[in-house]
Symmetry: C2
Subunit: 483 residues, 2 copies
């Protein structure tokens, strides 16, 4: 065969694949126009700009499985995508234009709410916000919550085992899934939906697909746990000297508040300052300045005044010198104002120029030491750069964001990302921490994972990948580097 004939043969095969995909999902389910595809090819941080052969949007699990089976037959890679809110490029195809982007957004039915069993079965494309509303409509609570919840989907959340602000009491996304339905790489459908809270019949396959970022199969639906709705909340903003005291305060709060403590967020002074300075209308929680803050919240279920226990605990913290000052929200408005400071923090950083980010976790006890050493490491690496470490102290998960030195050149600062990442991650690893606490690996950290992960664990991961996706078509180049 001449080169020209071979090219023509390839083109024919390509046309054939598209035709067969169209036959599965119909015209509504296929996007071929480059402009229309764009929204699926850019990820929120702008680090990756993918290309795709087409965007396929199936509306049922059978269609999804048929699409994957077909792509497997053609040895064409499939990149699954939910709400396209992931922060590590896991949902973005590579630049080749050869991959098929599989959007789960049309699989968005709430299949069943079984309030008597405290479960809800939803499809992958249902957004977190819609899942929360559906639970609330039957007087139940679905606690998975994070900034992008208006767009982020259940399928994406499960595929990345997303975290958020309620992990301390309720766990990460994977902890909500009693069972899942998965379209496998060869087109088989694993029907693992289940309303059971206990089921010891064989390997825990649900958990294998959760957090696998679509590299082993595509989560198409899940049965999720529902919880009783808290009757009220008590929310406090607390000022402290240093992270050591914040950690000690965490232990006090856990001891005194028990499992009703559902959020415990660390916020440094610079974080509060940035938010106040950004002009978004946030209010200062204290008139004085303090070096560190904690925002914490409890759920109250019985009829006792919600602030009572919180006041008692805070009194102990103040009397023992653990806390410098404390404010308890006296209204829903004040509660919202406290949370606004935490929620606007990532946005406020943008006003200060470039930011280099890390999503790390550490053993709780190591957090203060990590923060001190990382600050020194940053100063050594890029003098004047400003660490803004904030986030889920209760889970040992810090978003270690570093804002550029005031007035420095943004691009020059950002060009040193790799160097700064290495310095921060080295300290994390030294203390037994993780270089991805809740955002996943995706494309961003796949090479890093190669370097830092226990080689036997990596080997087992590759073995499992090889047997569940022998043709390496499921989101190749994410989590694991290519074969």
């Amino acid at each position: 065969m001449t080169a020209a004939r071979s090219r023509k043969a390839r083109r024919t095969v390509k046309t054939e694949l598209i035709e067969r995909l169209a036959a599965i999902v119909g015209d509504k389910g296929l996007i071929l126009d480059r402009a229309d595809m764009l929204a699926y090819l850019e990820e929120p941080r702008g680090l990756y700009h993918g290309a795709a052969r087409c965007v396929v949007r199936p509306s049922t699990v059978d269609e999804t499985a048929a699409v994957i089976r077909l792509c497997n037959d053609y040895r064409v890679a499939v990149v699954p995508q939910g709400g396209n809110t992931g922060l590590v490029g896991g949902q973005t195809p590579d630049e080749s234009g050869e991959q098929v982007l599989l959007s789960l957004q049309r699989m968005n039915a709430i299949r069943e709410i079984d309030v008597g069993s405290d479960t809800m079965t939803v499809e992958a494309g249902v957004t977190l916000a819609r899942a929360q509303d559906a639970a609330a409509s039957v007087d139940r609570y679905f606690p998975l919550s994070y900034a992008s919840e208006g767009s982020a989907t259940i399928g994406g959340a499960l595929s990345t085992n997303a975290g958020g602000i309620h992990v301390l009491a309720y766990g990460s996304a994977g902890d909500f899934a009693l069972g899942i339905e998965v379209a496998l790489a060869d087109g088989r459908i694993l029907s693992g939906l289940s309303k059971l809270r206990k089921d010891n019949t064989g390997y825990h396959l649900t958990r294998l697909f959760i957090g696998a970022e679509g590299t082993l199969g595509v989560v198409t639906a899940a049965t999720l746990k529902l919880f009783p709705s808290p009757r009220a909340h008590a929310t406090a903003f607390v000022a402290l000297d240093d992270p050591e005291k914040a950690l000690e305060f965490l232990h006090l709060a856990k001891r005194e508040l028990g499992p009703s403590l559902h959020a415990f967020e660390l916020i440094p002074r610079i974080g509060v300052d940035l938010v106040l300075r950004s002009g978004v209308g946030a209010r200062a929680p204290f008139s004085d300045h303090h070096p560190w803050h904690v925002l914490l919240e409890t759920s109250v279920f019985d009829g006792t005044p919600p602030e009572e226990t919180m006041f008692a605990m805070l009194s102990k913290a103040l009397e023992s010198g653990l806390a410098r000052d404390a404010a308890v929200a006296a209204s829903l408005d004040q509660r919202a104002a406290f949370w606004r400071i935490r929620e606007l923090l990532p946005e406020a950083q943008k006003h200060e120029g470039g930011s280099i980010k890390h999503d790390v976790s550490l053993p709780l006890q190591k957090i203060p030491q990590f923060l001190a050493e990382a600050a020194a490491g940053v100063e050594c690496c890029i003098p004047g750069a400003r660490p803004v470490p904030f986030g889920h102290l209760g889970d040992g998960n810090i978003h270690y964001n570093v804002t550029q030195p005031p007035g420095a050149d943004r691009d020059a600062f950002l060009s040193r990302r790799a160097e700064l990442n290495e310095a921060v991650h080295a300290i994390v690893l030294l203390h037994g921490g993780s270089i991805s606490a809740e955002h996943g690996v995706g494309r961003l950290k796949r090479e890093l994972l190669e370097q830092v992960k226990d080689p036997v664990s990596l080997g087992v991961m590759r073995s499992i990948k090889s047997v569940l996706d022998p043709n390496f078509i499921m989101n190749p180049g994410k989590v694991l580097t290519a074969r």
Copy 2:
């Protein structure tokens, strides 16, 4: 080679294996005497009587891995065992006398308690009771608790994902493991110990080995979550008309008590009667007789009087007619007396003759219907047989035990086990339930699993088994039937 020479060659290989095992674990670590082996070869229910080539008792993870590697080289099956308390024969070798029993009991170090990180790293052979005590010694709480906790080990609990009486608030064994160390079938050691509450770096391998019953590798150590110690408890015994009301009462209790509700156990009238009649000195919770009971308990962390919230909730249950009567324990002694009724129930059944048992779970909403249908099924199958369904209603997990008809022949009754199992399990499956909620599959339910499990799930399980244990040496014939 003649048959005689071939037999001799096999004997030589056997001797060689034993010699090499002895070289790894030393004399203290090897049991060859049949009488000394006996304690490892009988399981608690007496359903299986295994034989073994030898019992190997390594004292380190390196020894454990070396033993497994050697057995893999010789293609000799390894049966891991913890406290030998399992109820499905998972820890018992077959009758061939060819398998090696690997006891983890000498791997019993508490490697580290990191109270600041709320974690504890223990080896597989540490008993649950010792783990609980170790946590208590640093003012923390390790909630995994069930009847055999004095002998049952952490390794066994994780390998079977054991449940117990606190699952409602704290989850099953697997939910406590932040990370595990595993000796794989080829002798590699997977070093997955971790103190991190969040770590999204690749596939969740920890969860794959948990509940795999030693068929994919041997759990040698785990890092476990510790919790704050409750300051007090409120414990109530409640009388109800029927399971429908018990379920409605569960929803009321969850709504009013929130996450502090950590136990919710169903006990039928016959259960209380059997315990009182057995002469173990239990006290009747009520002077009147009632058809059904619930034993429930909350943890209290703050300084409020522990009974206050319980009283308020119970008042609502009594006023609305959900409950017939309720008693709240006024002392630790009374609390113990309430629990004694629940704990002595399985023992009390023995006084009534033979008992055929089921460990099933169902969607919460289906429990009342299941109980009605199963009672009818039992009566139809063996008239006069007495269902004693009790257990973890809060988790949808019922121990559906059936006691023989009064005065009937014990062996004749027990000979109908398969028939009765089939009748009960058919109803469970009809309602989306599980035929093994917390005891696992082991040898007892491996054929049943074949019949009832989603075939794609079974296929994926076999794929994973084939790649992690290609020679099928890890606890063969447990969970999955032989190749």
